[in-house]
Symmetry: C2
Subunit: 347 residues, 2 copies
């Protein structure tokens, strides 16, 4: 009675979880007995279920109701009982076709958004979210453009094709020619570096220039340093919000719904939810209360980072009720993340 299950217990738990995933209703002993081909009578199943309840894997919403898996029940299921199903052919194909289609043409954020859409519609079950972080990627180019009498636009393009721009205020006295020179200079510095590396480089370079005392180049470095100081915020894309309205557990409780929708509007919350997936290589599954946002104890997150070479670029994941079809959703996310990585790899 230490949390480890014998084979029978495990099988029962598996069936309870799977039935519950399907029906969203408490599962009774009869149902399980039938599912297991009557090897065991309902009465026996009841005993086993009582044990499982004692161990915290199941709960009864009320006496004389069937059982419902707890978060730890789901956790046990995911960790030990899940049949690692391969992805169904048509889904693989769809994802691959999309990847192939997007690979060449669209801009990077469009690629990500398309993936997010498709993944949300394939999983039906949940909402798709994609976060991405720019700073770690190596740059392709860095350019300053005039964007107003006293503002300048810094456009950075990474090797993977991400484009980011930010404004720098209060620069009125640089001519178009100056900017061209500065661009040439900065680009020489930038090639292949990531933004933080670039920052370091600039600081080094500033010391040198001080000696040489080239006013324009010094100016260039100052501008670069200022722009990079701010750090780039994550981008968040949420698709398929409406899917949560297909889940009875949410529709029955408007408060939950509201909390979730509100969360979708807060970038920082989404980022927190998918943060873990950025660090780790493997897919991350946070079930119910396990997820890092305490105010959302009824949702699960299945997410995986995607990468470009060494650096993690972002993470893609599904958000939905704890009652999720993990055996479907996990390979789906895994595969998508891998595809996404490879799309960016071949750019």
């Amino acid at each position: 009675m230490n949390g480890v299950l014998d084979d029978r217990g495990a099988q029962v738990l598996r069936h309870v979880v799977e039935d519950y995933i399907e029906t969203a209703e408490p599962v009774g002993s009869r149902t399980i007995s039938k599912k297991m081909g009557q090897q065991l009578s309902p009465a026996t199943i009841r005993n086993i279920m009582a044990d499982l309840e004692e161990m915290g894997y199941l709960v009864q919403p009320h006496t004389s109701a069937g059982r419902v898996p707890t978060s730890s029940g789901f956790r046990y299921y995911v960790d030990y009982l899940l049949a690692r199903r391969r992805l169904a052919r048509p889904e693989r194909d769809q994802l691959q076709r999309m990847a192939a289609g997007e690979a060449g043409s669209a801009s990077a954020d469009e690629v990500v958004r398309q993936f997010s859409r498709l993944l949300s519609s394939l999983s039906r079950q949940a909402c798709v979210v994609v976060v991405s972080r720019l700073s770690s990627q190596p740059l392709r180019s860095l350019n300053l453009l005039r964007a107003g009498v006293d503002r300048i636009l810094l456009v950075s393009v990474t090797q993977a094709g991400w484009v980011e721009h930010r404004l720098i205020e209060g620069e009125r006295d640089l001519s178009a020619d100056d900017l061209v020179k500065i661009n040439a200079y900065l680009n020489e510095l930038a090639a292949g570096l990531s933004l933080p590396q670039m920052r370091v480089k600039i600081l080094q370079e500033m010391k040198k220039e001080k000696a040489r005392y080239d006013r324009l180049m010094q100016r260039a470095l100052l501008l670069g340093a200022r722009a990079l100081d701010e750090g780039s915020p994550a981008e968040v894309y949420v698709e398929g919000r409406a899917n949560i309205l297909d889940k009875p557990e949410f529709v029955e409780d408007v408060q939950k719904l509201k909390r979730i929708l509100r969360a979708f509007e807060e970038k920082s919350i989404i980022v927190r939810l998918l943060d873990r997936a950025l660090e780790e290589e493997a897919i991350q599954v946070s079930i119910g209360t396990e997820n890092p946002v305490e105010s959302l104890p009824d949702i699960s997150v299945v997410a995986s980072g995607y990468r470009l070479g060494e650096a993690t670029m972002g993470s893609i994941g599904l958000i939905g009720p704890v009652r999720m079809d993990y055996s479907h959703v996990i390979p789906l996310v895994e595969y998508s993340a891998r595809l996404l990585s490879s799309v960016f790899e071949h750019r």
Copy 2:
């Protein structure tokens, strides 16, 4: 009996609408009689209400229930009965402070997003949507940057500070120097023109260059033409989706909710909803079935275009149930649109 109301009828209609806006419940004759200071007894009110029902301004959900305004009831109210309230001081202040704060610093799309957020939270009542159209704005600059072995990034900055970029495929043989030259050339052409004007200019210029036969410049023009051919899609920002969950009329009907949330995920639908506001100078109010999307007969849209000089830049509006506090929401949107225009004006 031709749709025009005498004073008494109008007053009764006004009170029914206002009470219904407040309570979301059918309104009875007693309530109205009280609201009107007992000048008329409930019985009289009942007669008047029966007339209003006959004229199509009110309906009874069932016999022995109070009355609910129809879409035409709301329409009549908005057109003739609405006390054009001025905006409350604190709301004006908040909007103004925001405008002042954003004016200088942020990039244009950030400004719009902030407005959208604030407007959604001030109106509580509904969701905020902003659409914006780039093509008509005069350009400040146009730049080509290398973004991959065989792709080039076109970055256009408008005078109002909107930044847009798009990729051009299959250009491998232009050196960085070439790009600099091309940029200088294009920028000379571009100054002060809008994208479509630019297109025309480029076509003219192409004829000339053909004569001169300058290969690089011809190349530049081709690139420019290709990039501009595609036309820029509208940007859509939706904020405060969760607010619709505060409206009992939506929460009671999950199907409606789903339709609305789905609509929010379709750019094209949102654009259709706010389209009218782009054309007209004045604020646009579409009540219930009046709005251009037939599949959403239970929502109203209050929207207004905002402009930069002559050209309309986009429109900002609220989406919510037909039962909206128009007397509050209309000035709110009007004022926001005006502020937004002025923010962009002073750039």
